[in-house]
Symmetry: C2
Subunit: 161 residues, 2 copies
Amino acid sequence: MSETDLVVERLFDAPRHLVWKAYTTPEHLRNWWAPKPYETPECEMDLRPGGKFYTRMTGPDGFDLRGTGCFLELVEGEKIVWTSALGEGWRPNDLGPADCGGFPFTAIVTLEETVDGKTRYKVVAMHRNETDRETHEAMGFHSGWGTCADQLGALAAELGQ
Amino acid sequence: MSETDLVVERLFDAPRHLVWKAYTTPEHLRNWWAPKPYETPECEMDLRPGGKFYTRMTGPDGFDLRGTGCFLELVEGEKIVWTSALGEGWRPNDLGPADCGGFPFTAIVTLEETVDGKTRYKVVAMHRNETDRETHEAMGFHSGWGTCADQLGALAAELGQ
C-alpha cells in the first residue's frame, strides 16, 4: 500500500467461492454493488483480461451513473483486478468530471480463506497521485465502498443458505 | 479499427520468433525503439500482465523522455498488449504534458506468420478520443512509429544471420 491507495478490508462469514460468485455474476452484483437505497439496474461482465465491466447505478435522488471499466486479471476464487482507466478491449477511457470524479483508479480485490472457512476480503483502490486519493476519500470512499463490502458479505452468506 | 486508432503495418523478412525476440529483449529493443539518431539508453521489461515497461529515449537535440507503461497481455510469438495509461502493477499513470503529449494510449502488437516464413507486423495505437488520435498523428506518429517498425524488422532479420 502506498500513499495513493485506499483500502477496505472485511471478514465475511461465507466461503471464498461464494464471495467470488457474488462478485462475478451480474445478477448477484446488482444486489450489492451500490450502497442501498442506491441501485445497480444494469451490469455486464466479460470475465477475461481486456473484457468489459459495465455498471449503471441509480439513486432515489436522481443519481444516474454509467461506467465501463475493464478487467485486467482474474484468478478464480482469489483475485480480481479491474480499472476505470481503460474500457472494453483495454482502450483508454475518456473520463470527464461526470464520471465519478473523472479520475482513473485500479481496484485489486483479493479473497483469502481463513482456517474456519470464512473469507478475508480486501480491496485496494490505486490512484495516480495523492490528490486523486484525497478526492476519492472526500467523496465518501470508506463509507461507500465499506457499505458495499458489507452488502457483498451478507449476500455471499445468503447464497450459502 | 475505429476513428480513435492509428495503425502501422509492415511485412518483415524475418520469422516471427525473431521479431518477438527483438521486441521483448531489452538489449534488442534498445536498438530499434527510437527512430535514429534518437536512442534508447534505458529499458526495463517485466514480461507479464501488470509488469513494468520502462524506456528512456534521448536525442542529439537534448530530447530526454522517460516513460513507464504496463504490459496487459503477452501471447508468446503472437501478441503484445501494453498501455501508457497504467504503470507498474496496473497503477494509473499520472501523465503530464511532458509525457509524450500527456494522453494515454494502448498498443496492440500482433505478429502473423506468412506462408513463406515472413512476419506480418501490425501495431494499433488506441486512444480515448479523436482529439488524442489527431494530436498523436500531428506529433508524427506514422513517420515515427513507421521508422521504428522498419528498424525492428531490420534487426529481426539480422538476428537470423
